[in-house]
């Protein structure tokens, strides 16, 4: 099964449950009391997911390891390499 099919099957299963509740096919006092929340729940879910994604992105941006040392080491090695290659007859 491709990822696309996996997505379609999960989304349609969730949609079927949601629609049966909203469409009045399932009756229960809890459903009747919270019908407005259930109606907008897909939108709430999308917003929450967006917030989650934004938080994760920001968190990871600020905790990304900045390798100061590696950059310094590389600069020193570049200088060494150029000098050695010039000695070996390289023309830059």
């Amino acid at each position: 099964m491709t990822k696309l099919l996996e997505w379609i099957s999960v989304i349609s299963a969730v949609f079927a449950v949601w629609y049966s509740i909203v469409g009045g096919y399932v009756k229960h006092p809890i459903i009747d009391n919270n019908i407005s929340i259930i109606l907008v729940s897909p939108i709430i879910f999308v917003i929450l997911f967006g917030l989650y994604a934004a938080t994760v992105v920001l968190y990871r941006v600020f905790t990304f390891n900045n390798c100061e040392e590696a950059a310094k080491e590389l600069q020193a090695e570049i200088a060494e390499a150029r000098k050695d290659l010039l000695d070996k007859g390289m023309k830059f």
Binding site: E6, F64, C67, L74, K88
Partner: protein, 261 residues
């Protein structure tokens, strides 16, 4: 006893072919070659560097020829192509001419330091992995020289990638190393030659996306993968080739992989 002798015989005959596709890298090429020689001549590993230049107008090929003169044609192999034909076909071209039984793929732009190559090889030997990949996410791995926008871009892509392609995926076999399930690894890698050939044959995309597809295919084919923490220092010379249109290509290709894998 006989088996042990045979094993060591095989180990002795291992050879590593490093593929270096280049396009306008005349500043970086001598440095990267010098570094590869420095770090690999310290070891007993047999290797060759195959430079695949795609007709760079800046004279990268002339620089490569000078380097071949200095280090010898058994170590530096030149397999240039007439014009810019892309990364994917560069690897196919390189493999065709590789004499090693292992292939190492890396960029010539100095962002992947050759000092990590012996670590890749050691880890592969220790566990007999099908491929070993570099990651910037564990231990001392990381990046240097990236601004907020770029880091944010990368992180956004990871989420996009993860949500689309790896939501319910089983964990990769990475032994003692971290779980690469959620990682967006497109970096330096070491492959068994036949494994790389099979992976390339099963891939459909081109360019940067090609490397991403390879890791997805590797997981589908149940190959064992090892991981080495690496540092990524942003390119010192030359322009980054990852522009706006490439980012768009990336997004498109991910959607394509989403629908087909």
């Amino acid at each position: 006893m006989a088996a042990t002798a045979l094993d060591s015989e095989i180990t002795k005959s291992d050879k590593y072919s490093i593929l270096l596709p280049t396009y306008n890298e005349k500043e970086n090429l001598p440095i990267i070659i010098w570094l590869i020689v420095k770090y690999l001549d310290n070891t007993d590993y047999d290797y060759e560097v195959i430079i695949i230049d795609d007709g760079s107008p800046d004279g990268t090929l002339d620089v490569a020829k000078q380097l071949q003169k200095i280090y010898g044609s058994h170590k530096i192999v030149l397999k240039p192509r007439e014009k810019k034909l892309g990364l994917g076909t560069a690897y196919i071209h390189g493999i065709k001419h590789a004499t090693g039984n292992f292939i190492i793929i890396m960029d010539a732009d100095l962002s992947h330091h050759p000092k990590f190559i012996p670590k890749f090889i050691d880890l592969q030997r220790e566990h007999d992995y099908d491929l070993v990949t570099g990651t910037r996410y564990v231990d001392e791995g990381g990046v240097y020289g990236w601004d907020f926008k770029r880091t944010r871009g990368l992180r956004c892509y990871e989420i996009y990638f993860r949500v689309l392609l790896q939501w319910w995926q089983k964990q990769l076999k990475t032994a003692t190393h971290s779980n690469i399930k959620f990682k967006f690894t497109i970096y330096k890698k070491l492959y068994k030659k036949d494994i790389l050939q099979k992976l390339i044959d099963s891939c459909v995309s081109k360019g940067y996306v090609f490397q991403m597809e390879m890791i997805i295919r590797a997981r589908q084919l149940d190959y064992t993968i090892g991981e080495i923490p690496i540092t990524f220092v942003d390119r010192v010379y030359g322009e980054s080739k990852l522009g706006g249109s490439e980012i768009f290509q990336f997004a498109k290709a991910l959607l394509y992989l989403f629908a087909t894998t």
